[in-house]
């Protein structure tokens, strides 16, 4: 029995939901990718690729070869990856419903798991850390305008005459003419 059900995706009706990788495929290849996620599709290794190829309209005795060739094309692989996000989003309401059912049924075997799953998200466990940072480095304040202004203020308060410029701001004119 399948756990989740999805509404069959009709690529002709829902074309605006498809991404660029899917839109870059031919119509048959696109149908192949959509069929991989079909509700009625068998599991991988049990004829999934053949099923998708038949759904896409491929016929003949060598259908498994054709299906395999299509499935491992780089553009089809990229499209499968892109389309899987859409399929997961379509499944999520069913996932929520399944958790809700498990939560509301005390006799459900996953009742406690569902409850803790919900609680972990609604009331996450909080931990508190006290981090004490000690910095014993010597002062290395940059000579910004604000610092220089504060220095001038404090020097005036202390009754100090004009102080020499801080050495951060020292410069020397270098004569670059050849001697």
């Amino acid at each position: 029995m399948r756990k989740f059900t999805t509404t069959p995706f009709n690529q002709n009706e829902n074309v605006e939901q498809l991404g660029p990788k899917m839109m870059a495929l031919s119509e048959k290849h696109r149908s192949f990718v959509v069929a991989l996620f079909d509700e009625a599709a068998p599991a991988h290794g049990a004829g999934l690729l053949n099923f998708a190829a038949r759904k896409a309209g491929y016929l003949g005795k060598a259908i498994s070869v054709t299906a395999s060739r299509i499935a491992y094309r780089p553009d089809v692989q990229a499209a499968i990856k892109e389309f899987s996000h859409l399929a997961v989003r379509a499944i999520s309401p069913d996932a929520i419903r399944a958790v809700r059912n498990a939560l509301l049924d005390p006799g459900h075997k996953d009742n406690i798991r569902a409850a803790s799953l919900v609680l972990e998200r609604v009331l996450p466990v909080e931990t508190m850390h006290t981090v004490r940072v000690e910095d014993h480095r010597p002062p290395t304040v940059e000579a910004t305008e604000a610092v220089l202004r504060r220095i001038a203020e404090l020097a005036a308060q202390a009754g100090l005459p004009a102080l020499p410029a801080p050495i951060d701001a020292d410069f020397k004119v270098v004569d670059d003419k050849p001697s």
């Binding site: 000690e134 290395t140 610092v147």
Partner: protein, 153 residues
């Protein structure tokens, strides 16, 4: 009896030495503060990085405390002259090289117990006051402040 920093002994020695000397009206700790301000002002006249200068200026302005050390006293004190700096050097030599205490766990600082003990003495302090007219002016401000009623909080 010795406190954790070991200052009690040097304070007692200074107080004993001051007992028979003329009263200058200063508290023992105020003498240290005044002399250290003069020395710090001298250091600030030299070249240093902006961060260091800001640090020393903050330390200097943090000396101001109620009537014990007023902003006017801070302004009046002049930077120590080279002779006073030499006197400091001699005083610092009294401190043993392992004379540290932990200002907080894992952060040792020089204690200067013996040199500070000497600075508390009136006879030693009077040499600095004699060389620095700013110190004499600060003493006058200090005495005048204590003769006035305390300002309303």
């Amino acid at each position: 009896m010795t406190d954790e920093r070991g200052y009690s002994d040097v304070i007692r020695l200074a107080v004993d030495a001051n007992r028979n000397l003329p009263d200058d009206g200063l508290h023992e700790f105020t003498r240290i503060e005044i002399v250290l301000v003069a020395m710090t002002k001298r250091l600030l006249l030299g070249k240093m990085k902006a961060g260091e200068r800001l640090y020393y200026l903050r330390e200097l302005n943090d000396r101001v405390f109620d009537r014990q050390f007023t902003p006017e006293m801070l302004q009046a004190i002049e930077p120590a002259c080279p002779t006073q700096m030499q006197m400091f050097d001699e005083l610092w030599k009294l401190d043993p090289p392992d004379d540290f205490y932990e200002i907080e766990p894992g952060r040792p600082v020089r204690a200067h117990r013996y040199s500070f003990g000497m600075l508390m003495r009136k006879d030693v302090f009077s040499h600095f006051a004699g060389l620095n007219p700013g110190i004499r002016a600060a003493i006058a401000i200090y005495k005048n402040g204590w003769s006035q009623p305390a300002a309303e909080a």
